[in-house]
Symmetry: C2
Subunit: 587 residues, 2 copies
Amino acid sequence: MPSYIAPLEDMMFLFNKLRNNKKYNEIEKYKEVNSELVKDILEEAAKISQNLILPLAKSGDENPPILENGVVRTSPGYKEAYKKFIEDGWISLSCDPKYGGQGMPKTVSTFFDEMLSSASLAFKLYSELTIGAYNCILRHASEEIKDTYLPKMVEGKWSGTMCLTEPVCGTDLGLLKTKAEEQSDGTYKINGQKIFITSGDHDLTENIIHLVLARSTDSPKGTKGISLFLVPKFIVKEDGNVGSRNGVSTGSIENKMGIKGSATCVLNFDGATGYMIGQKNRGLNSMFTMMNLERIVVGIQGLGISEIAYQNSLSYAKERKQGKANNTKSENGADFIIDHADIRKSLLNMKSIIEGERALCFWLSQQTEVSLNHSDENVKQEASDFVSLMTPVVKSMFTDMGMEITSEAMQIHGGYGFTKDLGIEQLYRDNRITPIYEGTNSVQAADLVFRKLVTKNGDIIDKYLNLVKEETNINDEKIQSYKKQLDHYLAILGKFTDWIKEKIKDSKDDVSAASNDYLKVLGLVATAHAWIKVLEVSFKDYEKNKDFYEDKIQTANYYFNRVLPRAESYFKSATTGSKYIMEFKFN
Amino acid sequence: MPSYIAPLEDMMFLFNKLRNNKKYNEIEKYKEVNSELVKDILEEAAKISQNLILPLAKSGDENPPILENGVVRTSPGYKEAYKKFIEDGWISLSCDPKYGGQGMPKTVSTFFDEMLSSASLAFKLYSELTIGAYNCILRHASEEIKDTYLPKMVEGKWSGTMCLTEPVCGTDLGLLKTKAEEQSDGTYKINGQKIFITSGDHDLTENIIHLVLARSTDSPKGTKGISLFLVPKFIVKEDGNVGSRNGVSTGSIENKMGIKGSATCVLNFDGATGYMIGQKNRGLNSMFTMMNLERIVVGIQGLGISEIAYQNSLSYAKERKQGKANNTKSENGADFIIDHADIRKSLLNMKSIIEGERALCFWLSQQTEVSLNHSDENVKQEASDFVSLMTPVVKSMFTDMGMEITSEAMQIHGGYGFTKDLGIEQLYRDNRITPIYEGTNSVQAADLVFRKLVTKNGDIIDKYLNLVKEETNINDEKIQSYKKQLDHYLAILGKFTDWIKEKIKDSKDDVSAASNDYLKVLGLVATAHAWIKVLEVSFKDYEKNKDFYEDKIQTANYYFNRVLPRAESYFKSATTGSKYIMEFKFN
């Protein structure tokens, strides 16, 4: 089993040193959330991740949930751990105190998301979708529904799901067939089949609240005829308690390559009672509230799995001896593999990406909070635009990098990485879902280039590039060499952006074929931006904590020398256009 | 289960149109191997791969071999299929007619290696190591041993293994502990434990011939004290039949992420009788004969798995509808995903890499045959040097690309790629061993930069670069735009090579840290070289088979526009040196 120690020092560094964002500081409700409180919370979060959740990873992989007489039984240990998890109030961390939550900002809860992803993604998913459903209900449902469902969900007694995908539609929800027929009492009867439903059924909670996309019988075809319905597994009685079983049943559990501990279900809705959430035919918009936040969390999953893969690679490299290093000092036998240049390079590649991503993510968490809670609508909107822009980037880049990093971990472990003993191969398999679900990474890239760069709110990418330029316009002489490198890639990103804006007018296929590369370049530059902010503090406070800041500076060196330059080739390839791609005749 | 049709048209194109290599044509023994004969063989090879072997992939994955009362039982269907496989003489394809082989050159048998890898890598491995052991015995053993063992191995009644790895040593064989004690009759008693032994034990053959690296009790430490021993599972009697059990037993079967149908064993040698092969203390050299050929085959495994991943992605893209394409013509509903630019790009990425690799591999097969069979020692040596240079490149690049391609296949299949139903995730898992075994890809890169570029035979890389320049100095005007691109990257490779040669003198860590990138650049350029040769024929013979050659030209366009430019970033990153990497203080 891989070991894991939550990276509290880095997390607290970000919270203490990079929180000083004017607009974020203006948010009234988080003024009490100070360093000491956060440290206490994260220390407890670390304990529960390391001690309670981590062992569930192997258990879930080896004994996936089973469907028995219509009931889904989770993996050994999951039920006991979940009970402790909710008793200690971990579901409620970021929820509204009005419904029993602890009201922590994303700048804190995101760290917990990362820890849980490191410990066991499969286990995490049981609570993650509850938070997704909570957010959607909070923003779109009536007060009555909120009062009925949210307290139990925040408490963790009831969990949630997102029911979108059907056999004929994943990416393209316009094709969905699930029907909703209005009843005389204002409720709906839901009929249809949903597939790939994460935590679709299980024995951890007394009720499961499904948020289901369906087409009302009198609604038009396509995406404009989709509404959102709340469909509980058990009907909730007037007194708020769980009543009779609703018409939702589990058809089967998917047999998957990874996250085997997570019950991914086929759900059959047979005249199930549903309650409409939000406006009729606007279901997709409501669901996207949930989905956008969820996409960022998927990126964080990639980051969390990267972190545990790195930690175990580092410790293995320190204890495995093999071959002589170039400058060996050992007379006899082999050196530790951490003395080999290519292993060190691999470790630094992981570390520089992980820490850069974590810093970028912290910035994004602040922007998210500003977008939700700032008092000035204009400030809110601008932050919201940045969050929208960065959502596909974080989702795709972090999950792709997660594959690169878990793969490097496997290479460092050699044959022992491919066999099951050390659990490294499980990290690789578990992370492999992240570039797929919540919209494949190509779907994210299309979303970025076609819907996020320039919107009705203006030229978002232009504002973002200006923000990066402003924020990296730092006088400290020690920053200049990094800034120069960033400027070079900012210029490439600028040219690439102009190319996209030009091509989008009448060669959309060029844009589509360039979209994945564009996302990567934007992601690399955004991470460099985050690194520059880390470097700014590192040089300024150097004397206060030399070891820590020297580590940051050297790690940044790796990022600027060996990760950022990937942008060069992406730009060059992508701007060759798509004529030869579109005209190709596939046999 | 994925479907598979062997790419006979492309294979026969290479055999018919790119075989015309002067030195290869001078090999006497292959003059009879003409196009018709090869076509007949490959058609039969295709049938057996598609019909007999392909179904074993799923069977092996779902029911891996088990160790029961000291006996390894292979997966359902393996025994029957293996029987048919050897009855039809497939083991013997490339073997010497003197021992019952069919004497086919690598230009033919390599295609069969690819087909088997596409169909079921796990099944292939049972025969693959037999060929490895056959080659090693053929070149290094006494006539008596050859006469005793080779006919049965060529027939497929006995199989072979390579026993190198031990718990403390994989990459670094100098550390190995297995002991060999000489007996009065000239045989040895072998004691020790070997791990990760592919096909280490199974029920497919009546005997298993282990080639074991061990240290004679009077030999020195390190790599210079290692000898090679033949250790049969059952002692062979004077009459050539199988006798009593030798002191080799199976400790356990590894539980792995992929190639689950292959029995990867822990073998315990307890006073097992062994026969020394080749000279004492020169075992590593003898083993490397086997290993080098085997490394190329591992590259071909990556190619084979890429091919089946591509075929299934293409057919899925033609039948799955999702979303509207940019230039949609459908009024209602979604378009086939093959109409989406990013899916087409992904398919062409796969195709252009696969076909380029196959062409490069064909060239390498010719070089291998020249290196083994040409009458002129100088010609032989030069070809041998090129094979040595390209061995780590083919091993690493093809297997890394295999991961990229199986990953793209999974993305194209979305959720259906991650679940077990369609078998796509199995391709991804099965291929994941290829960058690890027979020396990790980083070990290959180190081998390339430190041992293959400049050797006692001269400046090999320089000769190779000149060869590429000569062979691509083609007058056809239509080639010029490709040639110009190749020249650009040849120049980068030249600069990179000079940098390596300079740094190797006193900054070996710079070279180590650059080695993986250097290998990639060399691989990309070598594949472009192969593509130019394909293009030369395509333009020349265009009118004779327009559809086929147009396909080649367009596929090459993709390669030159979108694959080759990766070299740019690799070069830029790698030449930043290693000071910041070596000085880093890992916590």
